[in-house]
């Protein structure tokens, strides 16, 4: 008997709860009873039970809403993982007894969904993928998504032994395989999960890919399915009440400096930076003044943040004296610290990439975010559509244009463009600007653009005005043949 106890030990110490049904059988005195290992124990009584929440709204919810729901679901269990775009997985085995079993816990979860006004479909199964498949296929099984907590319809499989049997009638589409694979399976008459599970493994892997075979294995719990745990991102939020009212910008920044120092420590302890920082200044009786700082790269340095915030505050008009101020960070972003440079920027071998984001932030803080931008060339023959504003991020330049192997596809263009063509006066059918314009060379015809509704039909000329400035003008091809100035050769 002694060695029997030893053999049973692993079963008892596993947190996976020994199956009570098995206990009398093992005690019945049969010495030839097979040794029960950890994996077998897990098969007999599922170690995990997953609740899948499938948000059944017609359009997938925003990642932000999914995260909000995930944060609320953490009330029910610490093991929550997101399955974008529209699903949420909760491991509920450990918290079943706290919420009154599967039914009670599902009601709680449905309540959370209805509070956020997200119709949802819930399903419980021993593997995450099975729960997801059940929840996704729920509508086809005749269950409608619940809108209120009371009408929560839950598809439940708690027994691993029943898993394959209950999953078998589900359509394969619930696994979200590529449409091409589904079509090929449908062609050989395989439309449900059960039919797919009956196919020979080797042939299935060869014809439909090992990824799909692994999905099936995870679905029925043959291999374990690891899920990333969702964690709510921490935010910084501090408030400071003032004992006197402030009106001066400089004094305001001095009051904010300790808060910023706290923010700096908070960020440095987490190796994170912020991309947005909001400063709220509260007044007596009117809504607070908000000042939002948006950054190009994650920043954690209190001094730099103070400089940038100071620029923004200086541009701010305070409607009333300030009574309290509050600092709120946006989501934290992990920050990789760059190593310092041996050379100074601009020196031999010295780079500048590390300095540029700070410069751009400083400029944007004072001039506004849209005042600082980069340029991008678009392959389009219409001048207005041939360029775009882009984020000023240092990228490697494309291959040089204008070289022999990549000739410039369009005619000669001026380096300056008017945002909107300006109409020119005319006399005897010729344009005038500070006197008559002299047209040089031949016209370049630029027309069509029906595909996006900005159709043009113009004849472009290079013109010289009385003072010697070279202009790029065009004449409309349609009546009344007006002349416009569109660019300047600098």
């Amino acid at each position: 008997m002694r060695h029997r106890r030893a053999l049973e030990l692993p079963l008892e110490d596993s947190a996976a709860a020994p199956a009570p049904r098995q206990a009398p059988a093992s005690r019945s005195g049969d010495l030839l009873h097979p040794i029960v290992g950890r994996a077998d124990a897990a098969t007999i009584a599922p170690a995990e039970l997953w609740l899948a929440v499938h948000l059944a709204s017609p359009s997938p919810p925003a990642q932000q809403n999914l995260e909000r729901l995930g944060a609320r679901a953490q009330r029910l269990t610490p093991r929550v993982s997101l399955d974008p775009p529209d699903s949420l997985l909760l491991e509920i085995k450990g918290s079943l007894h706290l919420f009154g079993g599967v039914a009670g816990l599902s009601r709680e979860m449905a309540g959370e969904c209805s509070r956020l006004q997200m119709p949802c479909m819930l399903a419980v199964a021993p593997t995450p993928l099975a729960a997801l498949a059940l929840a996704r296929a729920g509508r086809k099984l005749g269950v409608s998504p619940s809108r209120t907590a009371d009408s929560a319809a839950v598809l439940t499989i708690t027994d691993l032994a029943q898993l394959v049997g209950k999953l078998s009638p589900l359509p394969l589409a619930a696994l979200r395989w590529p449409q091409d694979t589904l079509n090929r399976l449908a062609r050989i008459g395989v439309r449900t999960i059960g039919e797919a599970l009956r196919l020979p493994r080797a042939g299935f892997a060869r014809r439909f890919g090992t990824v799909q075979l692994q999905t099936l294995d995870r679905l029925i719990g043959r291999v374990s399915d690891l899920k990333d745990r969702f964690e709510v991102r921490p935010r910084f939020r501090r408030r400071r009440e003032l004992i006197y009212e402030l009106e001066s910008h400089a004094a305001l920044l001095a009051v904010l400096t300790p808060l910023l120092a706290q923010l700096g420590e908070f960020l440095q302890a987490r190796q994170c930076g912020v991309l947005t920082l909001e400063c709220r200044l509260r007044h007596r009786g009117i809504p607070p003044t908000r000042c939002v700082l948006r950054l190009a790269a994650p920043l954690a340095d209190a001094v730099q943040l103070a400089t940038l915030l100071g620029e923004r505050l200086n541009a701010l008009v305070l409607p009333q004296p300030v009574r309290a101020c509050e600092l709120r960070s946006g989501p934290l972003v992990s920050r990789i610290l760059a190593s310092g440079e041996l050379w100074q920027p601009g020196e031999h071998g010295g780079g500048a990439a590390a300095q540029a984001p700070e410069l751009i932030e400083r400029l944007r803080a004072r001039l506004g975010p849209e005042a600082v931008y980069g340029l991008r060339v678009i392959e389009d023959h219409r001048p207005e559509a041939a360029w775009q504003v882009r984020e000023p991020v240092m990228t490697l330049p494309a291959a040089a244009r204008g070289s022999q192997n990549d000739p410039w596809p369009f005619g000669h263009r001026p380096p300056w463009l008017l945002p909107v063509p300006r109409q020119l006066n005319e006399r005897d059918g010729l344009p005038r600007r500070r006197g008559a314009l002299r047209l040089l060379g031949e016209a370049e015809r630029i027309e069509t653009g029906w595909w996006d509704g900005h159709e043009i039909a113009r004849d472009y000329y290079t013109a010289v005005d009385a003072r010697g400035a070279r202009l790029w003008v065009f004449r409309e091809r349609e009546l009344p043949h007006r002349w416009f100035l569109h660019g300047v050769f600098g």
Binding site: P383, L396, G402, P414
Partner: protein
């Protein structure tokens, strides 16, 4: 002793009236202009002023070959355009070989006192060391402000180019190089108003 003295005089910060200062320069892409400019091209750092007789006579085309060479280097920094009077047209710049990826446009045309924000942005650009070259279009700039910009450009190892109207040629300026640009029959005529040992006569450049 004489050799030591001549070596000392080779220092880039020292220049003597008649001889051209020894500075690191960048070819302008126009052989005639290279010949006329001290050191054979645009300086690498410092502030230069370009005074066109009227906007659009060809003052920007003087710089385009140098901009192309600068932005195409693998270690290139930003090429900043501060308060440009019109929208820089990316396809035309790409056509001239300038890499649009390196261009940073800063619009500071807000209604503030005497272009103060443009002046501030230009100084930030020059001082930061994040730019190879910074172009700015300023109407009003006092000599002491230009002096400040020049020092900022030297600190950041940046070439600052200041475009101002021709009328400002009468005002004194601490810029290292002042160039007047006016239209000539086929192209442009460049006159060095102030330089450290450059050509005295006007330089005629062909049209591009």
């Amino acid at each position: 002793m004489a050799r030591d003295l001549s070596r000392l005089l080779e220092h880039p910060a020292i220049w003597r009236g008649r001889s051209a200062a020894r500075t690191r320069t960048l070819s302008t892409g126009f052989p005639a202009l290279d010949e006329g400019l001290p050191g054979g091209g645009w300086p690498h750092t410092g502030l230069i002023e370009i005074l066109p007789s009227c906007f659009g006579v060809g003052e920007l085309s003087l710089l385009l070959p140098a901009l192309a060479a600068m932005t195409r280097r693998p270690e290139a920094r930003w090429c900043a355009w501060v308060a440009p009077p019109l929208q820089p047209f990316a396809p035309a710049l790409a056509e001239c070989g300038v890499a649009p990826e390196r261009i940073l446009v800063v619009n500071a045309r807000r209604k503030d006192a005497k272009g103060k924000s443009a002046l501030w942005a230009f100084e930030q650009m020059l001082r930061s060391g994040a730019c190879d070259i910074a172009l700015a279009w300023l109407r009003n700039a006092l000599p002491r402000q230009i002096r400040r910009l020049h020092l900022a450009a030297e600190q950041g190892a940046t070439l600052g180019v200041l475009f101002r109207p021709r009328e400002t040629a009468r005002e004194s300026s601490p810029a290292a190089l002042r160039i007047a640009v006016e239209p000539a029959a086929p192209g442009v005529r460049v006159t060095l108003l102030k330089s450290r040992g450059g050509a005295r006569s006007a330089i005629e450049l062909p049209a591009r």
